[in-house]
Symmetry: C2
Subunit: 233 residues, 2 copies
Amino acid sequence: MKTEKVSELTTNRLSVYLRCLNELAVSGTETISSQALADQFNLNSAQIRKDLAYFGEFGVRGVGYYVEDLRRHLMNILGLTEKRKVVIVGLGNLGLALANYQGFNQDSFEVVGLFDDDPAKIGVKTRIGVTIQSTKHLSEAIRRDKVEIVILAVPAIAAERVLEEVTEAGVRAVLNFAPVHLNPRPGVKVKTVDLTISLESLSYFLANPGTDAVSVDYRDFLGREAGANGAAR
Amino acid sequence: MKTEKVSELTTNRLSVYLRCLNELAVSGTETISSQALADQFNLNSAQIRKDLAYFGEFGVRGVGYYVEDLRRHLMNILGLTEKRKVVIVGLGNLGLALANYQGFNQDSFEVVGLFDDDPAKIGVKTRIGVTIQSTKHLSEAIRRDKVEIVILAVPAIAAERVLEEVTEAGVRAVLNFAPVHLNPRPGVKVKTVDLTISLESLSYFLANPGTDAVSVDYRDFLGREAGANGAAR
DNA sequence: AATTGTGAATTCCTTCACAGCC
DNA sequence: GGCTGTGAAGGAATTCACAATT
C-alpha cells in the first residue's frame, strides 16, 4: 500500500474491474487471477496488479483474488458503500433520459431532485416519481438535502453559471453533459461527457482509415485540466 | 507534416480546438495564437502546436493561426465536410433522447434510422420525424442507406450481438452507450461512453478528498484496448 | 517583437521479468 | 506450479526551450 497519488486512469479501471467482479460473484466464481481478468478487457495482467497494489495487497499468491473480497475492497475504495445524493439540472431530452435511467447503481446513487428553469416543465413528475422544480430552489435544496453530485444537462451557455451556483452551495462533484469546457474551482471535480467529441472522433477514424493505431476505447479526451486541487499547470 | 501515427488524445483535442474556432469565427476574430487558444482549456501552447503539426504547418510565425483557415483545415482532418449517416439502435430513455438531441453537428451527422425490437415502439415517430423500425430491417437499412455510424443504446446484454450484426453489414464506427466492454473486429472502431464509470469516478473523488491530483476532465477511462487495426496486444 | 515548429528533457503510464509466497 | 507484488525497463504524452520565420 502506497501513498502516491493514483491516476484517474487507474481508478476508472477499478470501476471496470468492479463491474466484472459483480458478474463473477453472481455466477458464483470464487477466485480470479489477474491474467483471467486482464483477458476480459485486453489489458496487461501487471497493470491490474499494479492498479490494485496502490490500495493494498488483496491477492493470494498461487491463487489469485477472492472475488467477494476484492469486490468489497473496490466498493470501499470507490466510495460506493454510501449512497450519494444526486440532482439533475436541465430536463431537456438528455436530462429527462438520465432522470429515468435505471442503469446507475441504485445502491450508491440516488436522484433526489430535478431542476429546470422552463416554467412549462416545473411540476412535471417523472417516471421515477421525482417532480421537476424551479432552479430558484436549487441552492437551497442542495444545502438542505446534502447533495453531493450534480448532473449538468443544461445548454452550453448556461453550464458555467450553474456550475458556479452549485459550487457555491457546496457541491464538489459534477458530471457535465454540456459541450463546453468548464473550469471548476479548486476542490471541485468536473467530469465532462462530450458527445460531439465522441462522434467527431469516429468521423476522424472514418476519414483516415488505417491512420488509426490501437484504439483506446476507454482513454479519451483532451489533456490535463485545472482541477480538484486547483493546481492548474 | 509527418506520417507518424496520431494519438486519439490529439484528435480529441482537435475537436475541442475546432469548437473554439467556430466561436471565434462567429465573433469575427481573425487570428489566434497557440497561447491564447491554450489559455481557454488550461493546456500548454506547445501541445496545441504539436497537435497541429502532425497534419501540416498551418500557422504563421509572429502572427499565429488564421481562424477561418485553421477551422477549415480541422474540419477536413476530422472528416466533417461530408455528412455521415447515423442510425440509433435501442430507443429506451437514452436512445430516444439521443434521437431528439439537437446538439450534434447537423451538417456532419444525419440520423437516418431508429431501430428497436420492442413491438410497442415500432412505428412511433420521434420529434425529428424519424420512425422507429424493427431491428429485423437493421442490416438491410445499413446496406441500402450506406450508414457509417451506429449508436448503440441497447441493454448491455444485447450490445455484443448488435455490434456483430452491424459490423457484418459494413459499419466501421460505433458509439456505444451500453455499460459493457466490446471487442470490435479489426478495422472497426468502438467508442464507449460509460456513465457508470463517470459517476463512480466522482464517487472516488468524494470518498478520497485530497488524494486527487490535477483532474483530467477530458482524459478518461481505462487503458489500451483491442482496436481498429486489430493489433490487440 | 511575436509566435511558430520542433529537438531535447521530462513526466507519466505500461509492460517486462522475476523474486517471493502459497 | 501458479500467481501475486514490484523494481526496472520501455514507451508514450507533455512540456521546455530555442532556433527559425514573418
